[in-house]
């Protein structure tokens, strides 16, 4: 897609703002719509009340929430029981190269990083085109059970890791929820809707899907039975991110952003990336947040996580500049592994960036480059 075409598509997608009144300049205005002192006091009181409620709820229900439970294997994919080294970590490597004012190039490669030495090797057997899925599918997760890459993220996998789902959008005709059985490669249309569908999670309680009318209106949340395709109305409060987002709202302390999720955990960065400013990294799970790092942008550690995968070793993260992988475990804290083996910068580009995203559990042994 050309840059101009992308601009047009983005503007179509986001739309143009409707006519709006100009803001009032100068000191706090006195009209009821615009920040009168009374409304400010009410807002302040409500904010205090909200904070009290949130803090109280945390104290009540999460008195130990500053400490996450010990890292446990993901429920999505069976994890190797061993947590020792050497092991090889599945990763999705993204490469970006570009010049100022010109279009850049982007590519994705699946492979493994041998740890603890940190050498990356591309997996020549990573193709996923033999499996059904969305158009232009790429390897997203490595399955130890199946000994192969899957065209799905960890959040798309069934609880037993043997199936994955994807949403097929049918334009004005609605959406289809597809389930793929990796054993038979059968692509089953599980559920159809006349609305636009988005997928939330797949756990033992079923598949949580939200839909919205294509031209706007009130959306719905559904829980789909993965065996029968039966849909039952669900509450929006069942959406996995809700408790975490509430907690995030209670943390305070400046701008924040997420830099990874596996459907259970959320990696939260609080603070900007501006050099010299302070920031913190949290892992949020089930309404509780654990601060795993606090530092200053550009300091000696400069922990800037990208992605997340949890296995018996702990919590794996990439780093935004591709130089390191990180492992965090409550008992041992944060540990980094220097990564080598990334392709050199292609000639003719001013900028070149590599990032490794963890895409599976660290598998005992060493990857020799001939398929896992």
């Amino acid at each position: 897609m050309r840059e101009d075409e992308f601009r047009d598509r983005l503007r179509d997608a986001l739309g143009e703002p409707p006519p709006m009144p100009a803001p009032r300049f100068g000191p706090a205005p006195s009209t009821p719509r615009l920040y009168p002192r009374a409304m400010g006091l009410v807002a302040f009181a409500l904010a205090v009340l909200l904070v009290v409620v949130l803090v109280a709820s945390r104290l009540t229900f999460h008195t130990r929430s500053q400490v996450l439970p010990a890292a446990t294997p993901s429920t999505k994919v069976a994890q190797p029981a061993l947590d020792s080294f050497p092991c090889y970590l599945p990763v999705q490597m993204t490469q970006e190269a570009g010049n100022q004012g010109q279009r850049g190039t982007l590519s994705s490669t699946a492979g493994f990083i041998n740890l603890p030495d940190g050498n990356f090797t591309a997996d020549t057997h990573a193709a996923v085109t033999d499996l059904p899925g969305p158009a232009d599918r790429v390897p997203g997760t490595y399955s130890v059970k199946l000994h192969r890459w899957l065209p799905a993220s960890i959040t798309d996998l069934s609880p037993d890791g043997l199936s994955y789902l994807y949403v097929k959008q049918l334009g004005s005709a609605g959406s289809e929820l597809h389930v793929v059985d990796t054993a038979t490669r059968a692509d089953r249309t599980l559920w159809t809707t006349s609305e636009s569908a988005g997928f939330w999670s797949w756990n033992s309680a079923g598949i949580l899907v939200s839909t919205s009318p294509p031209n706007g209106g009130i959306g719905h949340t559904w829980r789909i039975d993965p065996a029968t395709g039966t849909a039952t109305a669900a509450s929006q409060s069942e959406i996995p991110g809700l408790p975490s987002q509430l907690l995030v709202a209670s943390l305070g302390g400046g701008p924040w952003g997420t830099s990874g999720t596996d459907g259970v955990h959320l990696v939260l960065r609080q603070g900007t990336a501006e050099q010299g400013t302070s920031y913190s990294i949290f892992i949020v799970e089930g309404g509780a947040a654990t601060k795993i790092y606090s530092g200053t942008n550009g300091d000696a550690t400069d922990f800037y996580p990208e992605g997340i995968y949890v296995d018996a070793h702990g919590f794996w993260f990439g780093n935004h500049d591709g130089t390191r992988m990180w492992l965090w475990k409550q008992e041992s804290g944060l540990r980094d592994f220097k990564v080598t083996g990334a392709p050199p910068a292609p000639a003719g580009y001013q900028f070149y960036f590599v990032t490794f995203y963890p895409a599976g559990p660290c598998i005992p042994g060493t990857f020799a480059g001939s398929g896992a």
Binding site: M1, E3, F6, R9, L10, R11, A13, L14, G15, E16, P17, P18, M20, P23, R24, F25, G26, P27, L34, Y35, T94, E96, G98, Q100, R103, T105, L106, S108, P134, D136, Q169, G171, S172, S196, G198, W200, S210, T211, P214, N215, G216, G217, G219, T221, Q236, I239, G241, L242, Q245, V248, A249, P255, G257, T258, R269, T272, A273, E274, F351, F353
Partner: protein
């Protein structure tokens, strides 16, 4: 209607206060500060509204954010540096207010975190590709979405994006690239050539 809106956007005056142009404090000095402030900032309001709308996709939130940004900009006037780029400075305040809005209102956070897309403005000609792209942009982390919006929705230069994000122009370029990579997860055709 959309074409008209685009036309209006294209007819917006270029930034009056640029990297090599008149600096904010210098222009304000010697005049009635309030009047001058309004004279300088008012032309930037359409850009601020577009940025807020692209980030929040909600008219009322957008109005509130721009109003709050204007008020905070007025209050922060004494802190302006002589070499401040007023447009970038004001857009940065707007961007911060957008972040604050999303952070402080859990229902907004849920709305933006949700895969559900409830178009703020119903468009009869809106196709599924637009819905997918809007969903993908909304699912981006704050700074990535801001970088994409500034570059491809606001037509900002990397210098301006860097000024709004608080990073260098090359770093801003990297942010845009990184955001495109992230977008590609959901919209595979986006990043290859964009």
């Amino acid at each position: 209607m959309r074409e008209t809106a685009r036309g209006e956007r294209n007819e917006l005056p270029p930034p009056r206060i640029g990297k090599d142009g008149v600096t904010a404090r210098g222009a304000i000095a010697g005049a009635d500060a309030d009047d001058m402030f309004e004279a300088l900032v008012a032309p930037l309001v359409p850009a601020a509204q577009r940025l807020a709308f692209a980030m929040l996709q909600n008219q009322h939130d957008c109005e509130d954010v721009v109003q709050e940004a204007a008020f905070k900009a007025w209050r922060a006037l004494p802190k302006l540096q002589d070499d401040s780029n007023l447009r970038a400075w004001f857009l940065k305040i707007v961007a911060n207010e957008c972040r604050q809005r999303r952070r402080s209102r859990w229902w907004s956070v849920v709305k933006f975190a949700s895969p559900r897309d409830e178009p703020a403005l119903a468009q009869s000609d809106e196709n599924e590709a637009s819905l997918d792209l809007r969903r993908a942009v909304r699912n981006l982390p704050d700074e990535m979405r801001l970088a994409i919006v500034l570059r491809y929705y606001m037509d900002s230069s990397f210098d301006e994006i860097g000024a709004v994000l608080g990073v260098s122009a090359p770093a801003a370029k990297a942010r845009v690239h990184r955001a495109l990579v992230r977008l590609r997860v959901e919209i595979p055709e986006v990043s290859d050539d964009a």
